[in-house]
């Protein structure tokens, strides 16, 4: 795991129109991501379907990685305004109106211990099922929360087979953050859920989070196999 991660991330929440969740994911994977990586060096961290049984539906999540703020600025300046600077992106953006009308994006900076995409690949950290946590800290306590997450929660989580994909804070909104944890698969999630009521160590951590956090909401996102999603 790197000691410092200087990357910049954009995380997008995309509400889906009707039954187009799979189509939106396929477009992002097969057309959007290869284009922005080739043209701007922007890397796809992941594209996921939100597991509706655990949160908002229908919804797609996508996350992009850039090297640093200089790369971020260069990549955004290269793309926008799309109509003037990137006719291909403008075209698929408009094609995707059939699948989505809007969305909400977060500009994120990682905690120092948060792995970048290269470290995720080297460590084989990614997984099909991911626990996404939206974090709201008490005023001014995000850094302390990240310290505690690193030194206290991470060992507990890793002992239970969870792998940290990312811990971030919002670059613009204070006291707002996000965590991503990779699970080994559905059986792993089932085992974690079945064990939760009697897991005293995790229960103690959960209850202690009030020292740093105003709230934390977890839900699952999934990277489905190609063309698996028809809804």
């Amino acid at each position: 795991m790197p000691t410092m991660n200087d990357c910049v991330y954009i995380h997008e929440r995309i509400p889906i129109e009707g039954g187009a969740r799979g189509k939106m994911i396929e477009m992002l994977r097969s057309r959007w991501a290869p284009h922005v990586e080739h043209e701007y060096g922007v890397r796809l961290v992941g594209v996921w379907a939100t597991v509706g049984s655990t949160g908002e539906w229908p919804e797609v999540r996508v996350q992009w990685e850039m090297d640093d703020w200089e790369h971020f600025a260069r990549a955004q300046a290269g793309q926008y305004p799309m109509e003037a600077r990137d006719v291909y992106l403008a075209e698929i953006w408009n094609q995707a109106l059939e699948y989505r009308r809007g969305g909400h994006s977060m500009l994120l900076r990682p905690a120092a211990f948060s792995p970048d995409l290269a470290a995720i690949a080297v460590g084989d950290l990614a997984g099909e099922v991911v626990l996404h946590e939206d974090v709201r800290s008490l005023p001014g306590r995000m850094a302390e929360y990240h310290d505690a997450l690193h030194t206290e929660l991470l060992p507990l989580a890793e002992a239970r087979g969870l792998r940290l994909l990312g811990a971030y804070e919002h670059a613009l909104l204070p006291n707002t953050g996000m965590n991503l944890w990779a699970l080994r698969g559905w059986d792993h999630w089932q085992a974690l859920m079945e064990a939760e009521p009697d897991d005293a160590e995790l229960q103690a951590w959960t209850d202690r989070q009030g020292e740093w956090l105003a709230d934390i909401d977890g839900f699952l996102v999934v990277a489905p196999p190609a063309v698996a999603l028809r809804t």
Binding site: E196, L213, I216, T231
Partner: protein, 227 residues
């Protein structure tokens, strides 16, 4: 001890299409190819313009972690497609626009579907509350529901339909009360300042609950709890 878990769905229905949507959901569970799936319809409700956000429909399914996991594997892996579900989903887009789901972990005393059926629980109106509590408080809150609120419900002739923690959302609690008649809900609300036990309950709530969303709900016409 209730060994189940519950999938709780709040559906943003197309306005005016609440009952057709809820009926279409139930119809899916009569599909021959889907018989034998683990989940059972625990409750179905629709919103009214009396308290809380509207319009919406609510489905609650009783399941186990193993059954819920199997449902999700069928949904997200190509190896176990649920074709009937896929076709139903895409055919009913004119009835609903989206939704928000939670997985619920029942308090030990929270009734199962079999418990509700055995007691013949039915209602004209139901009160659902989603509460945000301080970290560490949800289990104590559910204990207080059992110790402080349930005796009052018994006395006033209301039923506890469910009392739950929310999986992966450690500050949240969800409770559902049922009233066989509107008058009993009126009595519960009317007694809140007169009844000593209810006053104590509301004092606890007032000093503990940090955020709340309430819904007064009707049972779905074809749902399990309809009078």
């Amino acid at each position: 001890m209730n060994p189940n878990i519950y999938l709780h769905e709040i559906i943003r229905t197309v306005p005016g299409r609440e009952e057709p949507y809820l009926a279409s959901v139930l119809s899916l569970h009569h599909e021959p190819s889907r018989r034998g799936l683990g989940h059972r319809a625990f409750a179905q409700f629709r919103s009214i313009q009396t308290s809380g956000a509207w319009p919406c429909g609510i489905n609650i399914w009783e399941n186990t972690w193993a059954g819920q996991t199997a449902d999700l594997v069928g949904q997200f892996q190509d190896a176990r497609r649920d074709v009937a579900m896929e076709e139903w989903w895409n055919r009913n887009l004119h009835l609903r626009r989206g939704g928000y789901d939670r997985l619920l972990i029942p308090a030990p005393y929270s009734p199962t579907l079999a418990d509700l059926e055995a007691r013949g629980v039915r209602g004209e109106v139901f009160l659902q509350e989603i509460l945000w509590l301080p970290f560490g408080e949800p289990r104590r809150y559910l204990d207080a529901v059992e110790e402080q609120l349930m005796p009052v419900l018994d006395r006033l002739g209301l039923d506890l339909v469910g009392a739950f923690r929310v999986a992966m959302r450690p500050r949240q609690v969800l409770t559902i009360l049922g009233a066989p008649e509107w008058s009993r809900l009126g009595a519960l609300l009317g007694e809140s300042s007169r009844d000593r036990a209810l006053r104590r309950w509301h004092e606890y709530r007032a000093t503990t609950v940090e955020q709340a969303e309430e819904l007064l709900l009707l049972p779905a016409r074809h749902g399990p709890l309809t009078v």
